[in-house]
């Protein structure tokens, strides 16, 4: 599905960075993937292996850090971690919840040689 698109974007960015830093290949790529994104880490891993072939990323280990879905209630300031998304504060029942984390699709760092 679209994990191939995501994998391609990662390979492009990381390959650029590796070359810009005078290295030839990436050995490890650290990603943060939020749980409130359309990306399934397992599917991304499979797509990445396939898409990275023949690029400076082909031997890179993909490390994926899962970021949980957290909201802060603007009314009572309590913070909620959600498995299932239900935008009502469990404390005061307000709907005024601000997203703190869970929408990340980030390349945090790369190890290269």
């Amino acid at each position: 599905m679209h994990e191939a698109s995501i994998a391609q974007a990662i390979v492009r960015s990381v390959s650029d960075v590796v070359i810009q830093n005078g290295r030839s290949h990436a050995t490890r790529i650290h990603l943060q993937i939020g749980e409130f994104t359309a990306v399934v880490p397992q599917a991304l891993l499979s797509s990445f292996r396939w898409v990275a072939q023949g690029t400076p990323c082909e031997d890179a280990a993909l490390e994926i850090e899962d970021i949980p879905i957290r909201f802060r209630c603007e009314e009572c300031q309590s913070e909620v971690t959600m498995g299932e998304v239900n935008l009502v504060c469990p404390n005061c029942h307000s709907h005024r919840l601000r997203l703190l984390s869970g929408r990340e699709l980030l390349i945090k760092s790369v190890e290269a040689e």
Partner: protein, 223 residues
Amino acid sequence: MEIRIVEKILAANEALAQENRGLLSADGVYAVNLMGPPGAGKTALLEATLQALGDRARAAVIEGDIATTADAERLSRFGIPIVQINTDRFGGECHLEAQMIKSALAQIPLSDIDLLLIENIGNLICPAEFDLGQHCNVVLLDILGGADKPLKYPLMFHISQALLINKIDLLEDASTEVALLTENALRANPAIACFPTSAKTGAGVEEWVKWLLHSAKDTLGQD
């Protein structure tokens, strides 16, 4: 060597999307990204919308499908600019991306239109992650397609400003299903505006069109 990047994976798509949005806003064009599962009635709803719009807004359509020009052909009777994007040419993507919209915009006389309706690929998952440069996201469901859709695909409803509950003509009394779907959608997005519609009979389309025109005015600050 460790290189700290901290870059969004979709930075390139986001940059293009911002460019697209800039182009559209500069020409006073309000762009809507219409998403939803296959078969829920997106193209039919677009037909009903264009019919109901009349001369209240000059519209154009970008039609996204993996293959075929069937949907664009259905809309051709309105005599408006239509660009068909077939993603099988880009590798068979199951969602539209900003680069595709950028190419399509080059084929539309933006200074001659007020409203751009983008019909995304039928899919409740992937399109939610790809900014195209639109001003507004709308998700369309079929009233008989399962009231738990917003619970199964919360991201799509979280990022959308409106939900169209289509094919209400299939039920003698749609109120229970509409209420349930609405309740579930509000869990993912307490601010989502819900519109029961029938693209077939036209029921509910005028309310949706009024909301659309009002949103356009609010966002772009003009008539």
